[in-house]
Each structure stands twice: as structure tokens, then as C-alpha cells.
Subunit: 305 residues, 2 copies
């Protein structure tokens, strides 16, 4: 864990004093005080040209996204993110200015969720910008929520409208960390996941891990304005955008029908609207539209029977 230039030194100077951080960036490893709770660990890498177009959006937006996608994974476990380490490969050309912008983006997102950036590794190379973020967190007293606990009969809820994130939300989204914690406090969540691959694909992850099936109700899925706008020129419907686009970073939750009914009625989580979009069934992945149930591919395609 070392870096050729000041990126890591800025981190060290700016790392917020949290009681858990005993040693921050600048030593060979960071040191955290122990807590009595299960630890959560997640990692995601974002790459120029694949996850963002540097020339269009800048390094700040890239840094923000790199941190946010990891915080979204933490939300998907209903965990409390606490600390992060960051490794980067900076293009040699203009690397220093890029590093500064990147730092701003990483930090604004980390700060918004009380996450201390405790270590890093800064490299420069003759290649595109690559950022890898590892976020550490803790489970709450209710424990982490896995993908594997959904039961037949469960209601499937979603935290917001879906589709068309490529129009900008894939960079600007706010990870549902706080919403997940509120939801976890308000009900027993059987399963939880964030929508990165797409509604159909990520619901399929829950379904597979929980060894059950799932049906989505086409008429109930909330479409984002972005998906609707895209559908005017993309040759796909807003439904297809909602099912397949991905990077919405909303949450899918499976809850008992009793909890589901109550959550929909009471809407206990400020700032979002919980919507029932489906149910867990015995087997398979299905889409019900106009009263007809068709097989749904995890990629979001509907098999017309």
C-alpha cells in the first residue's frame, strides 16, 4: 500500500477522525479497532470506457460512481458502511489533475455516508483510468440480509422507478444505504439485492439463491422517465428498459405478504415509494402481462409463448 505521489498523503491528512480508525493511510496497512458485529466486505472495479467515458464526465464523476456502486452493495446487505480502501491506475497524461478530481468524487460520496477512506494504492500507467474500491461495513443488530432468504408467497418490492440509467443516473444515483437500514428496521426482510445487472437478472439472483421462482407483474413495475424517453428512439419498450437496463441501483426486497401489505400501506421509508412488483412462486422466472404469464429471461427478454 504505497503511492508515488501526494494522493495518499491528502487522504491521510483528510481522513475524518473516527474512533475506529487507529492507523490510516500512510502505513503498510490501515488498522481498525474491533467491533462486536459481523463485518461486511465488498469490492467493485470501474474502468474508463466501460463504466464511464472520462472525456465526457470527468474523473470526479468516475470517483463518485466507484464509491457509490460499492455503497450500493453495502445497502443490498442492509449493512452500515464504515471504511474504504481505494486503488487506482491513473493515465500518465495529466495524472495529477485527474487524481485530484478523482479524490473529490470519491470523498464526496464517502463523506455523505460517514465512510472513512483509510488506505489506498496510487499507480500511474500508459493506460485508461481504473478505480477499485473496497468498502468495509458492519451488520446491524438484525444481521445482514442475504439474497437467499426469499420464500414462496413473498411479495417482491422495489424502491424506485427503473430503466434508462444510461441517460445519467448510472453516475448520479444515491446508493440506498439509508433506505435499506430504514426498511430493515421496519420489517423482516427475507432477501435483498441492488439492481446493477437489471431487474430481471437481479431478481433471478434472489430466486436462484433462495431456490424458488418469481413472477413480475408488468403493469406494476414503475418506469423511470429516462426509460420512457429512451423508448421513443431505442426500439425497445419502457418495460424492456426497466427489465433489462440495469445500473438503477434501486433495491429489490422480498418480504412476507403481511409485511408487504403493511409496508405498501404505511410507506415508512422517507424519500422513496415502495412498490409491489411481483411475488415469489414455486419455480422459474416469469412476467405476467395482461393476465398472461410468460417466461422471462434474466437478460430481460420475454419469451412469447
Amino acid at each position: 500500500m504505497s503511492g508515488e505521489f501526494s494522493f495518499i498523503h491528502w487522504l491521510r491528512e483528510r481522513t475524518p477522525d473516527t474512533p475506529r480508525v487507529l492507523v490510516g493511510p500512510g502505513d503498510d496497512a490501515a488498522v481498525l479497532a474491533p467491533t462486536g458485529r459481523p463485518q461486511l466486505v465488498t469490492v467493485d472495479m470501474v474502468m474508463e470506457g466501460t463504466d464511464f467515458h472520462l472525456a465526457e464526465v470527468g474523473a470526479r464523476a468516475a470517483g463518485r460512481k466507484a464509491m457509490a456502486v460499492n455503497l450500493s452493495d453495502m445497502a443490498a446487505m442492509a449493512g452500515v458502511p464504515t471504511a474504504a480502501v481505494v486503488s487506482v491506475a491513473l493515465p500518465q497524461n495529466n495524472g495529477r489533475a485527474l487524481g485530484e478530481e478523482l479524490d473529490l468524487g470519491l470523498r464526496e460520496m464517502a463523506d455523505a455516508f460517514g465512510v472513512a477512506i483509510i488506505g489506498g494504492d496510487t499507480n500511474s500507467w500508459n493506460g485508461p483510468l481504473v478505480i477499485s474500491v473496497t468498502v468495509l461495513g458492519e451488520a446491524t443488530e438484525r444481521g445482514p440480509v442475504l439474497r437467499s432468504g426469499a420464500q414462496v408467497g413473498d411479495w417482491i418490492l422495489v424502491t424506485g422507478p427503473l430503466g434508462g440509467s444510461i441517460r445519467g443516473r448510472h453516475l448520479t444515483f444515491t446508493p440506498r444505504v439509508k433506505e435499506a437500514l430504514h426498511l430493515h428496521a421496519a420489517a423482516e426482510l427475507h432477501a435483498l439485492i441492488d439492481i446493477s445487472d437489471g431487474l430481471a437478472a437481479d431478481l433471478n439472483h434472489i430466486r436462484e439463491e433462495s431456490r424458488c421462482g418469481a413472477v413480475l407483474y408488468a403493469e406494476a413495475i414503475p418506469f423511470s422517465a429516462d426509460g420512457v424517453a429512451l423508448s421513443r428512439s431505442s426500439g425497445k419498450s419502457a418495460l424492456q428498459h426497466a427489465l433489462g437496463d440495469g445500473e438503477d441501483f434501486e433495491l429489490i426486497a422480498a418480504v412476507s405478504p403481511v409485511d408487504g401489505e403493511r409496508l405498501i400501506r404505511e410507506q415508512p421509508v422517507q424519500g422513496i415509494t415502495l412498490t409491489k412488483i411481483g411475488e415469489c412462486v414455486g419455480t422459474g422466472l416469469w412476467l405476467e402481462q395482461d393476465g398472461v404469464r410468460s417466461k422471462l429471461e434474466p437478460a430481460g427478454w420475454i419469451h412469447q409463448l
Copy 2:
């Protein structure tokens, strides 16, 4: 934390059952049982063309190095590595075969130190191979050893010969994890670091963090056969290779003169020879050669006075 193809699924199937790993790869975040000890976290990224030449050495050697450099950072804290998460960008061309080779290299190094690979993020792109590894660990009962505890009068010890790692050792080295733990048990280590940047640069890190000076004794520094061989054609002396080459991944330790004298006499750490190469002084970084003390640059250059 998701991957397009089976890399993560192999990880999940192969992750050793350790009591600490409650949830491994396959969920949004891995879950570890809490321990009562301070946690250590370190991250390092290695990139094709910078840290290894893929066409020459293959992905297995690259994966091995990516894990080993992080384990070396854990050794540098006298920590016990326990778990790792890995993010990779695989070149699209032949990505699957590369992923398999990479997995072998990561795993052989992790397995050798009882480290469970508990999560990952696999990406493919039209770019070079990039591997980022985050290693988690624990401090022993004696606590982690930082860079900042060296005192004036301390002896400076090194765990092995230095220089010329580019001839192969930068890929094949064994991180000094076990040696660090033995050393930490055998004596009170004031400061510890692994040699990644180079003897002069890394000793300078200790010196700066400890707010003292340091002098190296040129005649005492053990030269590796690689550095001696390189010196025949490089235009540099074996001493210059030992001071500046880096990636030796031996450890530099600062200990009291009493402990230092005993460690050198008793050689309590199996498999390595501890050598006294210098002492901590009031200020500055120095090289003493033929009884003359010259200023030493962290890059390994000697100012002739």
C-alpha cells in the same frame, strides 16, 4: 460485487471453510464473524506492462504477485492475513483462459497463508490485465507494528539479500508473513516495513514516520546474487542495486540495541538470516562507506561530499 462469468462461482465453490467466513462470494458483500482484535486492511493494484509482462510471465504469475505484494504489506505490520477480495479487469481476448490462470496464481498464494478469498468483481474490457487485491488481517496480541516507532540508537535489521529483483524475484518472492510473526514474538519491534520501493526509500519512510534519522553501513548490506549479476552490465554497482532497485519484499526492522544484538546472535527466525545494516540517528538519511558518511537520497543515490 458481481461478475459476468464463472470466476466468482469458482471462488465460491472453492473458498475454504473457515469459521470466520459466514457468507462468501456470491452475495452483495461477504460477511465475516467478528473477532476481538484490531483489523488490518491493505490494498495493492498490479497492472500489465507496469508490474508484469503478461506475454512473458502469464496470468498465473501475475495473480501470484498481486496476492503476494498485499501479503507482504500484512507482514510489514506483523499481522496475520485472514481474507482477501479481488477485483480484476480481464482483456476481452482470451479472457476466460486468463481468468483461470489468474485464479490459480491468486489461490496458490492465498492458500499458502491460509487466506480465504471471500469476494470479487470480475470485469472484461478492451484493455490490459489489471488486478486489485485487498487483504484483511488481524493484529497479534502484541499489536500491529507501525513505521513510526523507531528510536535514536535502534539497530536496523534486514531479513535477506537485496537488489536485482527484476531478474525474477519480484514475481516469485515469498512474502515474509511467517518471519514477521516470529520476529514479533521474539523481540519488541519498534518499526517495520517491507522493501517495495527500495531499501533507501523504505528506510526513509521509517525515518520520516519515526521523526529520526538513519545511517546504513554499506559494507554490511547483503547483496543478492541477482543484483551482483546485474551490476556486470547495468553500469551500477551491486550496492546501488541493493539501495535502489526495490521489490525485494524483505523486511526492515528497527529494534533496541539489546534486542538487536540478541537477534543477530541467536538468529531465532528459521529460514532467514537477520543482518544489521544500520542504526537510527538524530536526523537525515546517510550511507557510511569506508568510514565516510555521505548523504543518501531516498531513490538510492549517494551524494559524494
